[in-house]
């Protein structure tokens, strides 16, 4: 345990790896060209970030030189190494990467001008050329890209030259301006609810995007606020951490109550669009919480989770709608819900029973199949007498809750209903995780054979995970069908399963907060399979971004945005052990006396 860095000679991190810089430059160039040809610049040009300087379309290209230059310059500092002194060479390397990235676009411009490849490449168009040349002549456009690319690359490289504090400030400002701009709909709506339109009118341009002055204000605030309250927050944090357990629990409870109260009040200050958006997010939170139990806790990779959502939705439709073709008891929603929960639980058992005898890849593929089977059953002519086939079931009534009716035309009520069920789902997940069943799930995730040998009946325990997951999904399905008012097989494509899984993975497997954050970021900002998010312009690139995000997460942060401590350990076991060893947490043990 005494071997710390001081008895190793301090090594300096290696100098600039020019081969790496060139590789990044090339990849940057290809990425830029790919983004341009995917149609992002043209498709997103309508959305302003800062009017009139920057639109989302240009941002989709401009981040490339900056980020790639900064990535190319980053070096992993190993134990016992000192960081190399950065100098002008790093700036030059950054500029090179930036230049490489933008030359991809320049090349593309030349090609578009001289050849016509519109047939396979839809976005090979004069509009793209126009946009790339900034509505000026091609030559000027190329020159501008050269300058822009190099400058941005230079700045990216400069990120490593400036001290860390400055770097994080710059990133915070950029992120804040971007976030405020993206959250425009939400913030306008919220502030309008509080009667503070003055603020948003000042910051935002009428037709979307920040005003230049607004952006400056946001940037200034981002710089100021940490200076003013940063230390105070830290003080409060340390005080809470140092509190005795009993007191800390009380503070936590208080915070929780305040948050819950705020959430309940929030819908009343929000407009229709935002309520609708948040209701959609809530539906996905419900689904993701359910899948989190199956995938995150019990470690069963279920790719057909949408089946339970579908069963929940269809059962509700059949039981409540007067238009249900086969059997139409027209039950009130709360009564129907009980049937829905029981029935989906049974379906969970039936699908689960054959599936859970398999493991790993086989299990994933079989669940995928079952997900599709359920959808095709609802679509089939054979059962169209019950479920309406492709016509679906329409005219599903809202939820009568005494004081009013929850229905799709009143998103606020839907959001409130979703909130209630989210609360239930969170409670269920939390309690089960810390119970005998939760421990058994975790043991199965860690090592199924050993769990079985230690007396855990793995078949029943895994089935239980399936059933609990199914029931949570059925809540979501029941609300979905009352909210939309009609239900079709196309609402339950395989894509939904995948997107829920991405939400769980990106948010952080096995972590309730992570799952909620994941749903807010993915469904709220980018949008769900059919539901628009805050960035409505993104809808055609949604899957591209989902995929890119998933790949990036898997490579760089497999534990998700809000990691579960345990999952992080699992995924970074070696690093974790190394850290523990350095901190002296791993015992070498031979020095104790026998008891």
């Amino acid at each position: 345990m005494t071997a710390t860095s001081d008895n190793l000679s301090m090594l300096e991190a290696p100098g600039i790896n020019w081969r790496r810089q060139i590789r990044f430059a090339l990849v940057g160039g290809l990425s830029s060209a790919f983004i341009a040809l995917a149609g992002m610049p043209v498709g997103l040009d309508g959305r302003n970030i800062i009017r009139p300087i920057l639109s989302m379309g240009y941002l989709a290209l401009l981040w490339v030189p900056f980020v790639f230059a900064s990535l190319a310059g980053s070096v992993v500092i190993l134990e016992g190494m000192t960081e190399r002194e950065r100098d002008a060479k790093d700036l030059a390397a950054g500029a090179l990467v930036g230049l490489g990235s933008s030359s991809g676009l320049i090349l593309l411009m030349i090609l578009i001008q001289n050849f016509n490849l519109r047939d396979p490449l839809v976005n090979w168009s004069p509009q793209l050329l126009n946009l790339l040349s900034f509505d000026r002549s091609i030559g000027l456009g190329m020159l501008l890209w050269l300058i822009l690319g190099t400058t941005l690359g230079l700045l990216g490289g400069a990120m490593h030259v400036v001290p860390g504090k400055v770097r994080s400030r710059i990133l915070a400002v950029a992120l804040a301006v971007f976030a405020v701009s993206v959250l425009e709909t939400f913030l306008t709506d919220l502030l309008e609810g509080f009667g503070l339109e003055v603020l948003t009118d000042f910051v935002y341009y009428k037709r979307g995007g920040l005003e230049v002055l607004g952006a400056v204000v946001v940037a200034a605030l981002t710089l100021m606020i940490p200076l003013m309250v940063g230390s105070k927050i830290k003080d409060i944090k340390t005080r809470v951490v140092e509190m005795p357990n009993e007191e800390r629990r009380r503070v936590n409870l208080l915070l929780l109550t305040v948050c819950a109260a705020l959430m309940l009040v929030l819908p009343f200050f929000l407009g229709k669009i935002t309520n609708e958006l948040l209701a959609n997010v809530g539906l996905f939170v419900l689904l993701a919480l359910g899948l989190n139990i199956v995938v995150g806790l019990a470690g069963i990779l279920d790719l057909g989770y949408v089946a339970f959502f579908a069963v929940g939705g269809y059962t509700t439709a059949v039981l409540t709608s007067p238009n249900s073709p086969g059997f139409s008891p027209e039950l009130p929603w709360p009564v129907a819900l009980i049937v829905v929960v029981v029935l989906t639980g049974i379906v969970g058992l039936f699908i689960g029973a054959p599936v859970i005898r398999m493991r790993g890849d086989y299990l994933a593929i079989v669940t995928l199949g079952f997900g599709e089977i359920i959808r095709l059953l609802f679509l089939s002519d054979w059962l169209s007498g019950w479920f309406g086939g492709a016509q679906g079931i329409t005219n599903i009534p809202g939820v009568d809750v005494g004081i009013g009716t929850v229905k799709g035309t009143d998103p606020r009520s839907v959001f409130l209903l979703v909130l209630v069920f989210c609360a239930i789902a969170i409670y269920v997940s939390w309690r089960l995780e810390h119970s005998r069943l939760g421990r058994a799930w975790m043991a199965i995730r860690e090592d199924e054979d050993v769990a079985e040998a230690m007396g855990v009946n793995t078949t029943n325990t895994k089935l239980m995970a399936f059933v609990v997951g199914a029931v949570l999904a059925s809540f979501s399905g029941a609300i979905f069908s009352a909210k939309v008012g009609s239900i079709f097989p196309t609402s339950f494509l395989m894509l939904v399963s995948i997107i829920i899984l991405v939400v769980v993975i990106v948010g952080g497997m096995g972590n309730i907060v992570g799952v909620i954050v994941g749903a807010l970021v993915l469904i709220g900002v980018l949008g769900g399979p059919k539901q628009p998010g805050l960035l409505q312009e993104f809808s055609q690139f949604k899957l591209l971004i989902y995929g890119a995000l998933l790949v990036w997460m898997m490579l760089k942060r497999p534990e998700g945005l809000v990691p579960n401590v345990r999952r992080t350990r699992e995924l970074h076991q070696e690093e974790f052990l190394q850290d523990a060893w350095l901190k002296g947490e791993i015992d070498t043990d031979d020095h104790e006396d026998s008891p």
Binding site: L432, A443, S594
Partner: protein, 268 residues
């Protein structure tokens, strides 16, 4: 009657006889060691008792009832717990959770209790926790205190072995199967664990069957030694009897080239 009785047990993997017509018994309160060269079928033997492999022929009777056809979890529920040769802890669960989860088959609270935090749920959780700590404190201060909430992966090798034993103990077995409990430990640690194995019987009332390569441990704790080679019992009896059995010596050291058994008997 014996606590565990194994009759004419055979298992074949394809054409390979992993175990051939094995007869074996353990009486209540005994400590029996199973030894044999690598590949003799010792671990297969354990896997069979704990239900992870189904024997091709033969019967395993524990306390008068056959264990054939039971899942490993059911075998554990009957009162047989095992450890693994290549330590297989739930590495990312805490040390306390490792012994808590092992009490799964001795407890029965389900979803309802957890959701409504019923009195019986709370008292059961409390009991699981307490019993877990009790089991862990059997190993002195090593696995308790601040360690309780640390992940099992940070433990040293010897402590992982100890936790393996603790986890098996937490299932409240009557028969404990230890697969090389002191492998990889230094002499002092293995001597200490040897003493603990004796205490497992005297204080906890466990019957122990142990696979072990460390002959000093085998000598110190076992009442009886069974030697396996190529899936067959080649000798059994007290340590001294077995240690001097020419067949055993042959199995371990091999027969000298060009000599027969008679010649070898003269050799020592």
């Amino acid at each position: 009657m014996s606590m565990l009785e194994i009759r004419d047990l055979s298992v074949t993997f394809g054409g390979l006889h992993a175990l051939k017509n094995l007869n074996f018994h353990v009486d209540e309160g005994e400590i029996v060691s199973v030894i044999g060269p690598n590949g003799a079928g010792k671990t297969t033997f354990f896997n069979m008792i704990s239900g992870m492999i189904t024997p091709t022929t033969g019967d395993i009777v524990f306390e008068g009832e056959s264990l054939l056809g039971l899942d490993p979890s059911q075998v554990t529920e009957r009162g047989i717990a095992r450890t693994f040769q290549n330590v297989r802890l739930f590495a990312n669960m805490t040390i306390l959770e490792n012994v808590m989860v092992a009490q799964h088959c001795r407890t029965d609270q389900r979803v309802f209790g957890a959701l409504f935090q019923t009195k019986s749920f709370k008292s059961e959780e409390e009991a699981i926790r307490n019993y877990g700590e009790e089991v862990l404190s059997f190993f002195g201060s090593r696995l308790v205190g601040y360690r309780l909430d640390q992940p099992a992966s940070v433990l040293s090798y010897a402590n992982r072995r100890r936790l393996e034993v603790a986890r098996a103990m937490a299932t409240r077995p009557r028969l404990l199967l230890l697969d090389e409990p002191v492998a990889g430990m230094n002499p002092r640690e293995s001597a200490e664990l040897t003493a603990l194995i004796g205490r497992l019987r005297s204080e906890w009332g466990f019957t122990v069957v142990m696979i072990e390569h460390d002959m000093s441990v085998v000598r110190d704790v076992s009442d009886r030694v069974v030697v396996l080679d190529h899936g067959e019992t080649i000798a059994q009896g007290s340590y001294d009897q077995v240690a001097n059995d020419p067949k055993v010596i042959e199995a371990y050291l091999g027969r000298p080239v060009g000599s027969d058994v008679a010649a070898e008997e003269e050799a020592p």
